[in-house]
Every structure is written in structure tokens, then in C-alpha cells.
Amino acid sequence: MLQISGLHVAYGQSEVLHGLDVAVAPGEIVAIMGRNGMGKTTLMKSLMGIVPTKSGSVRMDGTEVSGLRSWERVAHGLAYVPQGRMIFSTMTVEENIETGLVASGDKAVSDDIYELFPVLLEMKKRRGGNLSGGQQQQLAIARALATKPKVLLLDEPTEGIQPSIIREMARTLKRIRDERALSIVVSEQVLSFALDVADRVLVIENGEIIRDDARAGINEAEIAKHLSI
């Protein structure tokens, strides 16, 4: 579904990602673990075309997207839930979700999105900026789903969210995958969440993938070693 090969990304002269190779199968949930500053967010941003790609290729369903603008990538089936949510705070909850409709071409927000996040239906007319952190996270996911993606990218979705909601989010993400048959790539620092949600766990360190383990038979201690300081 999503095929990344030899991806090099740099900010000016300093290269952050040194040739990444990742393949994500349809319906697969992949967690990318790593400490701060190891390149998780840069990877997400470069996949969305927010940070330009230096060399290498990113393919969606075989189509090369690495030279495309952000909105063109969305049209090819990528969707993005950024770190810090980045919802449009002066717009209402409903309007926030509706911004995603431009890409899918739908006229109205489909009911199954509100079914997934009932709290958003209650708060439809509130301004996005007045929601709590967990609600904003749900809103950001709903907005991404409104574009009808094939691959959903989430950048540290658990950041700043209370533990009980984190567990619920793992369930929600799996439900989204099962109902919509899309692939999910999630970057994380919380190992328990990654183990909850992922089919495969990758570890990124200094801009390179150093581990790639399937969920079954994973060695927690080995991965935790790369996360602790």
C-alpha cells in the first residue's frame, strides 16, 4: 500500500533521515518508535510533503508521490494527524471535519464518523479551540478520516492525553482499521500503546530504522532499551 524506499530528508544542509525503507501492507498498523529527535516527526512531515524530500521514493499503491504537494498526496489517499493536533481553532467542530471533505468530494460528513466519535456530534457547533486535548485529538482523526484515506498517518497521538483515553484510542484505531480496511502508521514513544495497537513495531534511531519486529514474538525489553535514556 505505502512503499518508502531510500528516503533521505534534510533541513538545509543537515540530513535527518538517511535512507529509510519501509513497506506498509493494506490493513496493517505499523508503529514507529523512537526517542525525541530521532526523526519520527520529520518522517511524517516528509510523507505529507510538508518537508521536502531530498532523494528516495514514496509510493502510494505504486504511484510515486514524493514530488507532489500536500493536497495532491491527500487526493492519493494519505491522511495526516499531526503532533499537537493542529485543528482549526476558530472554526466549529463540524466545519473542522468538513475541511476534509474537499479531498473526498462528499457533500456532508458521513454518519459513521460521528458514530466513531459520539462526543464530536454533541459538540458539533462549538469552536474547535474550546475542546479538551483528548477531544481535539478525536477531532483531528475525524478530520483526517473525512478525506477517505487509504493510509492514515498519526504523529504521537498519545502526547498530552490521559492514560484512560490512550487505551480507548488504541481500541478506536483498531476499529477504524477493521471497519475501513485502511493502513495506519503511528509514531510513538509510549511502548504499551504501540504494543496495544500495532501489528508491527519499527524502531527509528538517528534517522535510520534499526529494528523491525512483528507484534507476535516481540521482545519488549529489547525495544524499551532504545526508548529509555
Partner: protein
């Protein structure tokens, strides 16, 4: 200054000057709407806005000449055609300018100031070369010339009422486009967070281009209204750009309601004061009042209240 007039005279003077100020209000409002869209929504300071207005005025003049020469029977309705043409002419020029100039400068707001100022000089010279340095004026159709006689002392010019109704309609249309249409939602998303708007699938370049074109198109319509109060020359737009910036800042950038209120206040204050004092004194008093109010409320009359 009021001493020489009786009370009923004063009432009549205020009423009539007030209505005379309506056309000024309309021009201010339409100009400021365009400027507020472009400045408030995109952060671009468009010094050439007056020239976009004058383009609309020239288009109106050309249309009126065309109707006089070729369709004298339909002359009464030329203004409607002229407005539509003015909107599209200024909008098309705006789109071209955004594509050729402004889009390269979004990250350098101060440079847009210089670039658009240069553009305004270029446009002025173009007008001078094409239309001549002499100012031109349009003939109003017969039905716009008279005035309603409300009481013995109060007359309301028909063209003033007409232009104001038109302005209200256009303002409502702009409000609808920005706040209730799908396209307006995209514009507001881009304004809030350009990068994120792109990442949810909004074509931000297209939104920028059409927003700029809309702002310029509305300025073109302002130019049509302008032909009723002044004669059109290559540099006429310059006289209005400062006042218009004042309207936008006084009203609070990005607030439609504020722009309306401030255009109304400024135009009425000027028009009423001009009757009793000289034109420049009227301007001085208006400016002083605005400076005073802005010192107390730097964010303008109406500012949107949201958590940042």
C-alpha cells in the same frame, strides 16, 4: 460653528449630509472589504488596491460610453452591466498579479508592501498612457439623477440610496461566501494554518489566488460606485488608499462587522464635519478621534474573541 443655524436647520443639515455621506460610505466599505479580505485573510498589504478600484471606474466609464454610442435605449441600465464587468476586470487582474507577483512573497509580508506599491505606480502610468492624464466623468442615467423630497428641507439623492443598497447586497454576498459556503470554509482553514490546510487536502494555492481575485473584484465594484462621486483619473485611487487602510485598522482586521461599522463612522464623520468646517479640518478631527480610539483599543472596534 452651529450658532448661525436654527435647530430645524441643523436637523436637516445633519440628515442631508448624512445621506450625502452614504456614497462615500459605500466606496469606503467596498474598498475596505476587498482590503480586509486580502490583508485580514492573507496578511498581504496591498498598496495597489486603489488602482484596482480605478480600473473598475475606468471600466464603468468605458461601458457608459459604449452604451451612449451604441445602445442609447438601454442607457438607464448600463450601471449594472458596468458593475459586473468591473468586478471581473479587477478580479482577473488580481488573479494575474497574485500569480505573477504576490505568491512569491507570502513569506515576506514587508516586501509585499514595496512590491504592490511599485505595482500601483506601474498601473497608474498604464492608465495615463491608455486613457490619458485628463480625468474622465460618466453621465448618470436619468432615473438616478433626482432626489426624494422627504420634507421641505430634506432631500435624499436617489443615486446615494441606490449605491448603498447595492453595497449592502455585496457585503451580504461576501459574508455569505466567507462564512457559509464551502469555499469560505477552505479560505478560513488556510488563514488559520496554511500547512495543515494543505495536509487535509485543500489546494492552498488555488484558495489564495481566488481570495485575492475576490478582494480585487470587490475593489472594482467600489470603482463603479466611485464614478458617482468623483471623476476618474490615473491617480484618483491614491486618495482613497489611506482612508481605506484606516477603515480596516479601525474596524479590526478580519472582522466584517467591524469593517462596516468603521466605514460608516469615518465616512459620516467626514461628510458631516465637511459641511461646517473646511475639508482638511474635517479630516484632521476624524483622524485625531481615530488615533485616540485606537490608543484605547489597539485591536480595533471589533476583534474576534477566541483562545489562541
Amino acid at each position: 460653528m452651529f450658532g448661525d443655524y436654527s435647530l430645524s436647520d441643523l436637523g436637516a443639515i445633519f440628515a442631508m449630509q448624512g445621506f450625502a455621506g452614504l456614497i462615500l460610505f459605500s466606496v469606503f466599505l467596498l474598498m475596505a472589504l476587498g482590503l480586509a479580505i486580502i490583508f485580514g485573510q492573507m496578511g498581504v498589504i496591498n498598496m495597489a488596491h486603489g488602482e484596482f478600484m480605478i480600473l473598475g471606474a475606468y471600466v464603468t466609464w468605458l461601458t457608459s460610453n459604449f452604451f451612449q454610442a451604441h445602445l442609447p435605449a438601454l442607457f438607464g441600465g448600463y450601471f449594472f452591466v458596468a458593475m459586473v464587468l468591473a468586478f471581473f476586470a479587477s478580479g482577473a487582474l488580481g488573479m494575474l498579479v497574485e500569480w505573477g507577483l504576490i505568491r512569491h512573497l507570502y513569506k515576506r509580508p514587508l516586501d509585499t508592501l514595496l512590491a504592490t506599491w511599485g505595482l500601483s505606480l506601474i498601473l497608474q502610468q498604464c492608465y495615463r498612457s491608455i486613457f490619458g492624464a485628463r480625468e474622465v466623468g460618466v453621465d448618470l442615467p436619468q432615473w438616478m439623477l433626482g432626489s426624494f423630497q422627504v420634507t421641505d428641507a430634506i432631500q435624499i439623492p436617489i443615486n446615494g440610496v441606490f449605491v448603498m443598497v447595492l453595497t449592502i447586497l455585496i457585503t451580504c454576498a461576501v459574508a455569505y461566501i466567507l462564512y457559509w459556503s464551502r469555499w469560505g470554509r477552505q479560505v478560513r482553514a488556510v488563514v488559520q494554518n496554511r500547512v495543515m490546510a494543505g495536509a487535509v487536502g485543500i489546494n492552498t494555492e488555488k484558495v489564495d489566488r481566488y481570495t485575492f481575485a475576490l478582494g480585487c473584484g470587490v475593489a472594482g465594484v467600489a470603482g463603479s460606485a466611485f464614478t458617482m462621486i468623483g471623476s476618474t483619473g490615473p491617480t484618483s485611487g491614491q486618495l482613497y488608499i489611506v482612508d481605506t487602510f484606516l477603515v480596516v485598522v479601525f474596524g479590526g482586521a478580519a472582522s466584517l462587522l467591524g469593517t462596516i461599522a468603521s466605514a460608516f463612522t469615518i465616512s459620516q464623520a467626514q461628510s458631516t464635519l465637511e459641511f461646517f468646517l473646511s475639508g482638511s479640518m474635517a479630516k484632521v478631527i476624524t483622524l485625531l478621534a481615530i488615533v485616540g480610539i485606537l490608543m484605547l483599543r489597539p485591536q480595533g472596534l471589533f476583534a474576534l474573541k477566541v483562545r489562541k
